[in-house]
Amino acid sequence: MAAITIEGVSKTFGKAAALKDVSLEVRDGEFMVLLGPSGCGKTTLLRSVAGLERLDRGRVRIGDRDVTDLPPRDRNIAMVFQSYAVFPHMTVEQNIGFGLRMKKRPKEEIARRVREGAELLALVPFLDRYPAQLSGGQRQRVAVSRALVMDAPVLLMDEPLSNLDALLRLQARADLKRLHTEVKRTTVYVTHDQVEAMSMGDRIAVMREGEIVQVDTPMRIYDRPANQFVGSFIGSPPMNFLEGRFEGGRFAGEGFALEVAPPAGADGRTLLMGVRAEHLALGRGAIPARVVVVEPLGSHTLLTALVGKTPVKVQVPVDTEVRADQEVRLEAPPSLVRWMDAESGAALS
């Protein structure tokens, strides 16, 4: 059993705060993705769990052990680094077996587990090669294999796919997900790629400026972002936001007025109506807009339209007859919109 509990962790580098009082609970066997733009502190948080950063404040527990003051080797973790950190002076076999040798396992056991680790990641033909003789994807697999053979209950991964080219990344993403379902380690996975986060995570922790903004399942984060930042960071295209306020039972902003029930706590504040591109439809809706750009993308067509001066993205079927400069009306189903305070960006309810 190895749940990870992070409690009130803070870390500053010089004057810059990398982590501000961060708390997070990762359940046993869960695949938790730390997602955020670069510099948001996600890697620092991962390294704090690994024991590679000395914390200013807070505790880290793995299972029922407080590991805050333990060095990495006593934490029962395994880690895959962004650069892979495959040892260049060792063969693939020596790389995979390195951790087991450090743990002074018997020779036969090392040989057996290295073999298994190599088979799991299709590295058997390369066991005698040096990293310099491998491709980027193979090196990445060596790094994963080296971490897996440790049989540590916690697996930490720092952007393991970011150095692969696009096609290989798709393949490796699926491989990693398959591996996770096979070995069921508690996994913390850092990425800045929201597609990776959506497709792999059991849950996602979205981070920004050293804080966790929202922790939830991928679909709930996508559908019910906790604030404007999450809505605009997750999803491609990002969520649309229309600014306005409720007047006489209608949500009215620049260039539109929409008959919709006000959310609880609207109280005449300026609000943002957040709506996904695929939830907007062309039709007899109450939002007049002018189409600016039409982008056919094969599976669907993406429109950029102006509501007043605000650009919004609209996803329509490919067979939609529409051209640039056309005036259209947009429909936003009330059940699928998300209301946010315009000032703080925080979602209502």
Partner: protein, 280 residues
């Protein structure tokens, strides 16, 4: 590139050839500038003593003999001074790496307060000419009982070589990714274990290069060695002090004898030097 060169491409290829010729021309010029004096010294060192004064000189090795070299090596004080030189150089390497490599590692790995200042101060020791430092050093060494002692010379050579060692080793350690050491730590190594098992083996060629270069610095150093010793001379000090009253062929033989280790070492380490300097 297409298989059929257009006239224009042909012109560019021609331009490239000209560039190459220019580069090689300059390179050859520089090489000659170094090699010709060395060749003349070597020639004189292996010419019979009688013919060395002949004029006009033959630039071809027509009359080779090891007699002059044997005369030099068998001269009084040469063999002991060679032993002294090697002893001093070895001590300098051990001391220099023991002090310099950790400093270089710290510069490469840690962001500590005053890091910039430190790397400047390291270089600043090079600002003071050894000629100015030698006299006070000699006085201090007399007091400490280190005068005319090889350890004293090795200490001075270490001080002279340290800036170089620190800068080179920090460059070497910078090139060893920190993530490698961290990976070793997550795989069961202590901080020290990760250094020994991962950083050190990867840095070894660079450290060897630093050691060899330190050897050359110490082997060639003449001023401090001359001031700080009386009877326990190193080879350059020995040659220098006997220079004014030795015959010309002795000088040539001594020069050749001293330059050979440097050449051999440079030859072995040039691969690492080129790596350090970003070449291939």
């Amino acid at each position: 590139m297409t298989a059929v060169p257009s006239p224009r491409q042909g012109g560019r290829v021609g331009g490239q050839a000209l560039d190459r010729a220019l580069v090689y021309g300059v390179a050859i010029l520089f090489a000659l500038w170094v090699l010709v004096p060395f060749y003349l010294i070597a020639l004189a060192a292996f010419t019979p003593r009688e013919t060395i004064f002949e004029y006009p000189k033959s630039f071809l090795p027509t009359d080779l003999t090891t007699e002059t070299m044997r005369f030099f090596v068998q001269s009084r004080g040469v063999i002991p001074s060679v032993i002294n030189s090697v002893a001093v150089a070895v001590m300098t390497i051990v001391l220099g790496l023991a002090l310099g490599a950790p400093a270089g590692y710290a510069l490469a790995r840690f962001r500590f307060r005053g890091r910039e200042g430190f790397s400047l101060v390291v270089l600043a020791t090079k600002m003071f000419p050894i000629a100015i430092l030698s006299i006070p050093l000699a006085v201090t060494f007399l007091r400490l009982g280190l005068y005319d002692n090889l350890i004293g010379v090795a200490l001075v050579h270490t001080a002279m070589a340290l800036p170089f060692i620190i800068l080179v080793t920090s460059g070497v350690f910078v090139s060893v990714s920190q993530e490698l050491e961290e990976a070793a730590q997550t795989l069961g190594c202590s901080r020290w274990g990760a250094f020994v098992r991962v950083a050190l083996p990867l840095a070894l060629p660079g450290l060897a290069a630093a050691a060899i270069f330190t050897f050359v610095i110490s082997w060639n150093e003449v001023f401090a060695s001359t001031i700080l010793t009386l009877r326990n001379r190193t080879l350059p000090a020995q040659v220098l002090t006997t220079l004014s009253d030795s015959p010309l062929y002795y000088k040539f033989a001594g020069g050749f004898f001293m330059v050979v280790p440097a050449i051999v070492f440079i030859f072995f380490m040039r691969r690492y030097l080129l790596n350090l300097w970003g070449g291939k």
